[in-house]
């Protein structure tokens, strides 16, 4: 009984809904992949958000408020300052951090295995884009060493490649 009470207390103390945050984190990029990926140029956050209501119901999430929060978190996960839900802020800041540091290097080089100049260009672009999305002080603190490492990588890469890229 004490354990149940403790779990309930922890749950009430949380400032986010576990199911919403988990679902939004898992599926926020879903429109980037077939069969969800639309043809032509598209806003992947907007398109992913459109998929959320039906997908949430398929996973047993039927509460309208929960679905609305999932939609908001996914829709605004790459748009600074948009949305009001804590889950939106958490996803946006977490997603940005995951594209900084050595993780960013791994991600961009794995996407461009045959063209390092494209990977370097993507890294420079992502460094600026994702740094700008950080709003929470905790996120800025966590991101700071990643940003420094990424800048160091870019500098050292340029040195060792004699400016060929």
């Amino acid at each position: 009984m004490q354990d149940v009470a403790w779990l309930l207390l922890k749950s009430w103390q949380r400032k986010y809904n576990e199911d919403i945050l988990t679902f939004a984190c898992y599926f926020h990029d879903i429109s980037a992949f077939k069969p969800y990926r639309p043809d032509g140029k598209f806003d992947h956050a907007e398109e992913s958000a459109k998929i959320m209501p039906k997908l949430a119901v398929e996973y047993g999430i039927n509460d309208a408020d929960m679905i609305n929060t999932i939609v908001e978190a996914v829709k605004y996960h790459d748009k600074r300052g948009c949305g009001t839900a804590n889950e939106t802020k958490l996803l946006r800041n977490a997603d940005a951090i995951d594209y900084l540091g050595f993780m960013a290097v791994a991600r961009d080089f794995s996407k461009q295995p045959n063209d390092m100049s494209k990977a370097i260009a993507a890294l420079k672009k992502h460094l600026n884009e994702f740094s700008a999305l950080l709003e929470l002080e905790s996120a800025k603190r966590m991101a700071e060493p990643r940003i420094e490492k990424l800048k160091t990588f870019l500098y050292e890469f340029e040195q060792e490649s004699f400016g060929l890229y």
Binding site: Y16, L21, A94, R107
Partner: protein, 37 residues
């Protein structure tokens, strides 16, 4: 809680470990940031 095993399979089928592990990292980071919101 949504079916995590089903969500995992769904993501792996869509985009392999690249997207699945990104999703998992996002969730871990988001929870670490949650103290502040």
């Amino acid at each position: 809680m949504p079916d995590m095993e089903r969500m995992q399979k769904h993501l792996l089928d869509l985009g392999g470990t690249y997207i699945y592990n990104h999703a998992r990292r996002c969730l871990v980071i988001a929870k670490k940031l949650a103290e502040e919101v």
